[in-house]
Symmetry: C2
Subunit: 333 residues, 2 copies
DNA sequence: TTGAAAGCGCTAACAG
DNA sequence: CTGTTAGCGCTTTCAA
């Protein structure tokens, strides 16, 4: 492979001048520019990115951490981020944690190794103070619920508590008072992500309904999980069934729809279901899903621009108005 | 940031010894190993990846090129690849072309820049001879249809022609003789990916059925595209309707199912539909989809191992038996 | 407007 | 078993 030295020799110039050309410096005569261009072409020259990185101490790569790419929420978020990144001279490195804390740390280490210049965290496994440690190695943008605002790191946040509150209130307004609840996490306050739990509890309280722990399902993520929750509900005596189910994702909701329909349970007459994320599949189900839509495009846009500004040491103010969550009212409620 | 020099000084040793420790060389006394470990800890040392890359001429990163990550086929393929890559000391760089030829070249250029050591091409936009040019900069593994075997590059291939042939024959066996056909590409022989077209045509020929070009739809990719195809079919006089539709992806099929059901067309009584890919959504639809399943896990496994062997200059024989496509018979046919 | 030369942090002969 | 030293390809003073 040709190096900058070869190009310089071929053009009868110094490496400095060639380097200047590469970096669009001013003060090069048109004549030499032309010579360099020709030499590069003839030698089929491409700069070695490792050398550039080492010398300039920048990789022009940013990382995005997600838990898993097969989750459409993340796939579409990455897509939105990538579209923004493409407008710059940066590359995007996609990193999956598979919900694993130590894997997340391994990825944060890439910041320390100068492998990447900055990170967007679309999912978060470790405690905030652990992640904040890594800020010294490069800018980190957090993405998620409003509760992340506790951190001094820049955040693109949505109000999951309010959205969940609204979703539950929506069910109650429709006359459903016995409401089951599925969460991807635990049902306590220790974790970020408990915001949805708070919204759920608050909405019930405000309507003088007490939480029935028998109807609270934890660590529910997949279609299969949803299927099993539905199966579990059907083992309850009929009078102990909830009248509606809030599920933390459309996949979970889809699994429930499947199970209930297979057992001739009428949705929403016998049991109503509300999903989360407004994934493409949600409107394709036998019973199109009522669901909470997330502003994925906006999250991607804002987080990328926020990170880019940090990288360029500029100020950036997140446009909060674009980050609202809405209920999409379809047939399942 | 601490460098290897700092560590050496701190431990009272030479950089060589520290470098040896880093690279798990033999012949270091336990005593010094311990000293180095301590020094690294105290200085919070992490090797600079750019320097390692520059010196060793390896980035320990491989790239995978897909057209778009939001397509579940690719998302699951990436997932399968990543699971294999994780077992090695390589990173995975995911790259999207958005079906753009020049974007694909930009990504192949990263091989030239030594940004990545090798590439798995899960989607292919450019002509094979163009891609082969890049093989001089690092190993490239092709993924896709058997027709890729024309290339001298290593290939993990499935027999799309046979699978399509089987799918059409399956429809014919069920008594559907008037068959419409949706393809993501054009309906000619110039492109790779025409294999499915060949399978379609051959199956009809073998059953003495002639191709009706009125029922051939080109450049059909998305749910919306599928919806529009169905809408188009419904504008035909009833006697010119096809009795079944082969669609190039489950998303397209899903769009058609949606449109037909909204218009009270009975599936499969009035019109049958077969999808492709066996995506999670295919069994969740109102009418669970008959579809052709692709061996995604196996494709990911084989392509990663094939690339890794090239990288290590070892021989690897693809296990062809795991790469079969099957028809999943559900309710839409 | 141009060039010489000193490294960026690390690895790998080579020499002990 | 350990250390000296010469670069990998590029950018950036500094001097002309």
């Amino acid at each position: 492979m040709a190096t900058i030295k070869d190009v310089a020799k071929h053009a009868g110039l110094s490496v400095t001048t060639v380097s200047r050309y590469l970096n669009h410096h001013p003060y090069i005569s048109e004549e030499k520019k032309e010579k360099i261009k020709v030499a590069m072409k003839e030698l089929d020259y491409t700069p070695n990115s490792a050398a550039t990185q080492l010398r300039s101490n920048r990789s022009f790569t940013i990382g995005v951490i997600v838990s898993r790419i097969t989750n459409p929420y993340f796939a579409y978020l990455i897509d939105a981020i990538e579209k923004e990144v493409k407008k710059t001279n940066y590359h995007l490195l996609i990193m999956q944690t598979y919900d694993d804390k130590s894997e997340e740390l391994r990825l944060l280490d890439m910041l320390k190794q100068k492998h990447i210049d900055g990170i967007i965290m679309a999912s978060i496994e470790n405690e905030l103070n652990v992640i904040e440690q890594y800020n010294q190695y490069g800018p980190i943008v957090l993405t998620g619920d409003k509760s992340l605002n506790d951190s001094y790191l820049p955040v693109v946040s949505t109000d999951q508590e309010k959205a969940t509150y609204n979703a539950i209130q929506f069910l109650i307004n429709k006359g459903y008072h016995k409401i089951a609840y599925c969460t991807g996490g635990a049902f306590d306050n220790t974790k970020h992500g408990s915001s949805r739990n708070k919204g759920f509890i608050k909405a019930l309280e405000d309507n003088d309904i007490s939480v029935n722990m028998e109807w609270v399902y934890k660590n529910i993520h997949t279609i299969d999980d949803g299927f099993n929750v539905a199966k579990n509900i059907m083992t309850l005596p009929r009078e102990s069934w909830p009248r509606a189910i809030f599920s933390g994702s459309d996949e979970v909701a889809a699994g429930m729809v499947k199970c209930f329909l297979e057992n001739d349970v009428d949705i929403p007459k016998e049991i109503a279901i509300i999903g989360y994320d407004n994934q493409p599949l949600s409107e394709m189900l036998s019973i199109p899903l009522t669901t909470v839509s997330q502003p994925i495009e906006a999250i991607g846009f804002e987080s990328t621009n926020l990170l880019m500004s940090s990288l360029n040491e500029e100020k950036y103010v997140v446009n909060q108005e674009t980050l609202e969550l809405n209920i999409i009212d379809r047939k399942s409620t």
